[in-house]
């Protein structure tokens, strides 16, 4: 049973990129798709009306935070998270495990689950695969993520990765068994295995044996600051093996460049706090890279953030105004967050249209040209030297079928 229908609209003839529609209980989701993160039942600094008007069809929320506040039981009693937020479109929830391992110092993974100290009263607590699914059933998300054994992707302990890979497979069975609502909620399996091709292959094969119970798959453990070279190889290995008739979700990936490369490799779904978080620190995403609005050079600049952007912020405000209020007034967060989420949505829309019109390779070349082969200095790109496309991008795209 499944509450998801995956419809391929177009397959790029040259790369693995595809444009599709994921039909979910709260409406269609057009892919490739970036999902904004609404940790506590809200996209920071925006009303949900604004999120909807940008065109987002699915947002992500965090089970761990919701379980602490307002609690899954309360959400269940009040009719689920959609109703609580008054968000009529789709919601994806994570398992809660990753948040614990990354946020809580004293968390520890055992066969039973993730043990941790309650951040509220310090008492020992345990999150098992069964409990994670139960929480997500109560929250009522359209896509639920399986609890997996996450190891930092920069860890060097191979034994730990071996253990985590096998445990993730044992836990997926427990998640499948605990899932009470397969007719209305979709459980995605997460492929783990670190940066080791053998372990990834093992995890992939294990997940595929459970294919009948899994409406979609995620690629996990690839957004922890690992070498970009290793990152794309893992993504490539997974997309090559995952079934073409199901959605593929690359967890925690959200830099525009990564999205374009992974889309060429056949990924459909992404999520990341980056576009919204960087906005709150005053950085806007533009086709050329980044615009740090705090920089003094913008103090008298009456141009919009991006003259090619149709977002409400760019239609109404100048760089100079934003420079004057950035980091002082919460409205600055709202305005720049709105632009960045608009930018991400537009990037995915343009990629999708390019795939449908069989010109995706040219779209990728144009994207890279604008970002790296430019002359103006009003934006930067996290220390990358203008004029050169990073080698890992060239290598990944070569495997995907694009000569840069």
């Amino acid at each position: 049973p499944s509450a998801l229908r995956y419809e391929v609209i177009a397959q790029c003839k040259q790369t693995r990129a595809r444009a599709s529609v994921v039909h979910l209980p709260h409406g269609p989701v057009e892919t490739p798709v970036f999902m904004p993160v609404g940790t506590q039942g809200t996209i920071k600094a925006l009303t949900l009306e604004q999120v909807e008007s940008i065109g987002y069809q699915i947002i992500l929320s965090n089970t761990y935070h919701l379980a602490l506040r307002p609690t899954a039981d309360l959400l269940d009693d009040l009719g689920g998270l959609h109703k609580f937020m008054n968000w009529k479109r789709n919601i994806l929830t994570d398992s809660g495990g990753f948040q614990m391992v990354s946020l809580l110092e004293l968390s520890q993974v055992t066969e039973e689950g993730v043990t941790f100290r309650s951040p509220i009263d310090g008492s020992p607590m345990l999150l098992t695969p069964e409990m994670s699914i139960q929480l997500q059933n109560k929250i009522g998300s359209d896509i639920m993520m399986a609890l997996d054994d996450v190891v930092s992707s920069v860890s060097v302990d191979r034994e730990r990765f071996v253990e985590a890979t096998h445990r993730t497979l044992r836990w997926i069975d427990r998640c499948i068994n605990a899932h009470q609502k397969p007719q209305t909620q979709n459980l995605f399996g997460i492929v783990q295995g670190g940066l080791d091709a053998e372990l990834r292959a093992l995890c992939l094969e294990g997940m595929l044996q459970r294919d009948a119970y899994l409406p979609g798959y995620a690629i996990g453990g690839v957004s922890g600051g690992e070498d970009k070279n290793a990152f794309w190889r893992v993504v490539e290995q997974c997309t090559a093996r995952l079934p073409p008739q199901k959605p593929r979700y690359c967890m925690g990936v959200g830099y525009p460049l990564d999205l374009v490369v992974c889309t060429a490799l056949g990924v459909d779904m992404y999520d990341c706090v980056y576009p919204a978080r960087t906005a709150r620190f005053g950085t806007a995403l533009v086709p050329q890279g980044l615009l740090r609005l705090k920089n003094a050079e913008f103090a008298q600049d009456l141009a919009p953030i991006d003259s090619t952007c149709a977002c409400p912020t760019c239609q109404q405000y100048s760089r100079a105004y934003l420079h004057s209020v950035v980091a002082q007034e919460s409205v600055a967060s709202s305005l720049i967050t709105c632009h960045n989420l608009f930018y991400m949505k537009r990037l995915m829309n343009e990629a999708r249209q390019a795939i449908i019109q069989q010109r995706f390779p040219q779209f990728v070349i144009d994207f890279l040209t604008t970002m790296f082969l430019r002359e103006d200095s009003s934006s930067d790109n996290e220390g990358v030297v203008a004029g050169t496309v990073p080698q890992w991008v060239v290598d990944a795209l070569a495997v995907a079928g694009i000569d840069v």
Binding site: Q40, G41, T42, K44, A45, L46, T47, L48, E49, Q50, H65, R69, P70, L74, D77, L78, F84, M85, N86, A299, Q300, L302, P312, T313, Q316, Y317, S318, A320, Y321, S324, V325, Q328, E329, S330, V331, S333, S334, L335, C338
Partner: protein
């Protein structure tokens, strides 16, 4: 030639219903910060069409480089406030102290530190910012200043008003000028100040030096003296915290415009006023609610149960209300965690039609900005079903 700005339609007792530059009075200037209502992007501000004018302290204009304001063509253009009137004043409403100053200038806090503002620099800000209305620079003192100090504040405020008016003529500015009346807690000084300012070619009056800890009795006796010296055909504005009852008391005496902080104060503390502007419509609703849900001790009956036009007439001077409690819900309180009603049942504002008390309670407790946005939308917005 500037057109006549103020027209009185109805007068009941001392209270007036009028029109001032398209604003129906009595009305409020919404508190703003650095060119936006706190937390509001333009689409959110557009959700409260009742808000037509923003109060902007001079410190906020100084936040922007003078050359930028000039290049952008004024404050409205720079801050994307094309549909709102800007009212420039010396005073920052968040401060409960009088504006400090000396013989030639006042001092204001800006992000770049304390800045001196004298009539010349004040009028230069006016020149590049192009507000629709400006209050003259004044030497503000509190109710407890000595008689000597109060007299001095009147002398300076008069001198500075004349300087502002002269600069205004030189700029050939389109804006309306409100004379800012000072004089602290001294009835005599207040009367002299009001009388002298009424003789000047000004478009209206700003009652300065209130909301600084004075008793209600002193406040209203001073206001009565001031208003008795002012011509009927010009609007009067006052800066106050702006509790609903203060607003009614001022309006009943003949004040037309309130520069209020109340919506913002409520919002920042997580309160939602359930003070219907048209209580008749809501009375039944609320009774049903309190019958259905007895565990709501905060939800006091609104005090003014009558139609707003008659309540203006009937309003009597009252003891100072306990701040932030009258007719308001403390939405941080856990009793609202499972309350799926809107802020005010029957209300048609954006917050009420889209979200519940339970959701806003969650957002406030999670320190999410959306909680403040919803509250501010509600508190500043329409209350009528």
């Amino acid at each position: 030639m500037r057109k006549m700005a103020f027209e009185i339609a109805v007068k009941t007792g001392h209270a007036r219903l009028g029109q001032f530059r398209g604003i129906e009075t009595p009305n409020c200037f919404l508190y703003s910060r650095k060119g936006s209502a706190p937390h509001f992007s333009p689409d959110n501000l557009a959700k409260i069409p009742e808000v037509k004018a923003l109060q902007v302290p001079v410190a906020d204009f100084l936040n922007f480089p003078e050359s930028l304001l000039e290049k952008a063509g004024g404050f409205n253009a720079l801050c994307n406030l094309k549909n709102h009137l800007i009212y420039m004043t010396p005073r920052d409403l968040t401060s409960t102290e009088p504006t400090s100053g000396g013989d030639k200038q006042i001092y204001v806090n800006t992000p770049r530190g304390i800045t001196q503002v004298n009539p010349a620099s004040y009028m230069n800000v006016h020149r590049v910012s192009k507000p629709a209305i400006m209050a003259s620079l004044s030497d503000e003192v509190g109710y407890d200043a000595t008689p000597n100090r109060c007299r001095k504040s009147v002398d300076r405020s008069l001198k500075w008003l004349d300087a502002c008016l002269e600069a205004h003529r030189a700029q050939q500015a389109e804006s309306q000028v409100f004379a800012t009346i000072q004089g602290g807690g001294q009835v005599k000084s207040r009367g002299i100040c009001a009388k002298s300012m009424a003789e000047r070619p000004v478009d209206g009056f700003a009652l300065g030096g209130f909301g600084l800890g004075e008793t209600a009795q002193l406040r209203y006796s001073l206001i009565d003296v001031i208003l008795s010296e002012l011509p009927e055909n010009k609007p009067r504005s006052i800066a106050l915290p702006g509790l609903p009852e203060e607003v009614l008391d001022c309006v009943s005496r003949g004040v037309d415009l309130i520069e209020g902080m109340y919506p913002y104060m409520l919002t920042e503390q997580g309160f939602a006023a359930i003070f219907p502007l048209n209580p008749a419509i809501h009375a039944n609703e609320e009774q049903k609610d309190s019958a259905a849900d007895a565990k709501e001790p905060d939800q006091k009956r609104p005090r003014h149960q009558t139609d707003p036009t008659t309540s203006i007439q009937d309003a009597q001077p009252s003891a100072p209300p306990s701040p932030l409690t009258i007719g308001s819900l403390n939405l941080r309180d856990k009793q609202y965690a499972r309350d799926t009603r809107p802020f005010l049942p029957g209300c048609s504002c954006f917050a009420c039609t889209n979200h519940t008390r339970a959701y806003t309670h969650h957002l406030l407790n999670a320190d999410e900005i959306l909680g403040s946005i919803l509250l501010q939308l509600y508190v500043s917005g329409s209350r009528d079903a």
